[in-house]
Amino acid sequence: MSDTGSGSLFTLAWSFGLMSLFAVGGANSAIPEIHRLAVEVNHWMSDKQFADVFAISQLSPGPNVLIVTLIGYQVAGIMGALVATLAMCGPTAVFAYYVSQLLSRSGNARWPGIVQAALVPLSIGLMSASGLVLLFTSNTSWTAFLVTGSVAVLAFATRLNPLWLLVAGGLIGFAGVL
């Protein structure tokens, strides 16, 4: 945290604020762009640190979008955490408010349906890209791929609470076999 001036706060606000307006399908779709901004463009953190903050954001309560709070803290301390969170959630919240007001007034129900159907394949494509990017930032051994694969199968095929699967992953990591 050597450059904690208002310059990096501005970069945080501008980067996350602009990106959030394109985050179709929510936080999970935005992971590749968050990774691109935090690791590749601005060099705020390493791949390993990115994988760590992703893990912490999944372990903590609240919406998954709070990965940006962790990145913001890494860049500029508590102010950075607040600025990143508000930049990521504020503009789209205002946008959502105005769109819902508009829709409840106009009652024209055709357009939302078309846009929604058109966005489904795009947001699944973005989420798949998230999976790929995370796979290569967090998995560095064949046992790691084995853990990821087993969790994917268990989560898909059973109704296990995801938290237990995360805890199991943590224990396997702690045991040092990854």
Binding site: A23, V24, G25, T92, Y97, I114, L122
Partner: protein, 200 residues
């Protein structure tokens, strides 16, 4: 979830409009569902809004969530704003937004402080590496679940768009705004053309 006979629906619909929540109630309800929501808040939001408080019918909730899903940004944050404003206008939107984000942001910030301090400890690094491998697995399960309906429909246009966006963002690592400014108009146009053809 509920039987859809009119007799069964009537009391729910009545309840849904009978007691609009106040600002403090909104704040507390969203804070509670947010803190309960490990790995996603949506399930808890539905439970609280539809089943526990009866503020919306299941249909109203689905419609509101569908709207929030196609808007950009975190879906559940959008939901809090749309929901809060429906009952109490702008102050209601702010109360729900603050309830959803305030408490977990405090917790996550504390975790960030701990990570900055102790993140170099080898055992913690190993544990977090294990957690993130598992979390990636969870993400793949969600992706596959969402992809199944598309695969079943065998709609080549949707699948081609999905793969194109995946390659552009995941493999080529092109910036998200650029990719979406190209792919959204294409997808909307194709969807409209296909609906027109299906209708004709």
């Amino acid at each position: 979830m509920h039987p859809s006979s009119p007799q069964a629906d009537a009391p729910i619909a009545e309840l849904a409009s009978a007691s609009p929540p106040g600002l403090l109630t909104l704040f507390l309800a969203f804070a509670k569902m947010s803190l309960a929501g490990f790995g996603g808040v949506l399930v808890w939001a539905r439970r609280a809004i539809v089943e526990k408080h009866g503020w919306m019918t299941p249909e109203e909730f689905n419609e509101t969530f569908a709207l929030c899903h196609f808007l950009p940004g975190p879906n559940i944050v959008n939901l809090s704003v749309v929901f809060g404003s429906r009952f109490r206008g702008v102050p209601g939107a702010i109360a729900a937004f603050a309830g959803l984000l305030g408490p977990p942001v405090v917790i996550v910030t504390v975790l960030a402080i701990l990570y900055a301090r102790f993140g170099d400890i080898e055992a913690l690094r190993r544990t977090l590496a294990g957690v993130s491998c598992a979390a990636v697995g969870l993400l793949f399960a969600v992706i596959f679940r969402m992809m199944l309906p598309l695969l079943k429909k065998r709609d080549p246009v949707s699948l081609a768009l999905l793969v194109a966006v995946f390659v552009a963002v995941g493999v080529m690592r092109w910036p998200l705004p650029t990719v979406l400014l190209v792919s959204i108009p294409i997808s909307v146009t194709l969807t409209m053309l296909m609906r027109r053809r299906a209708a004709a």
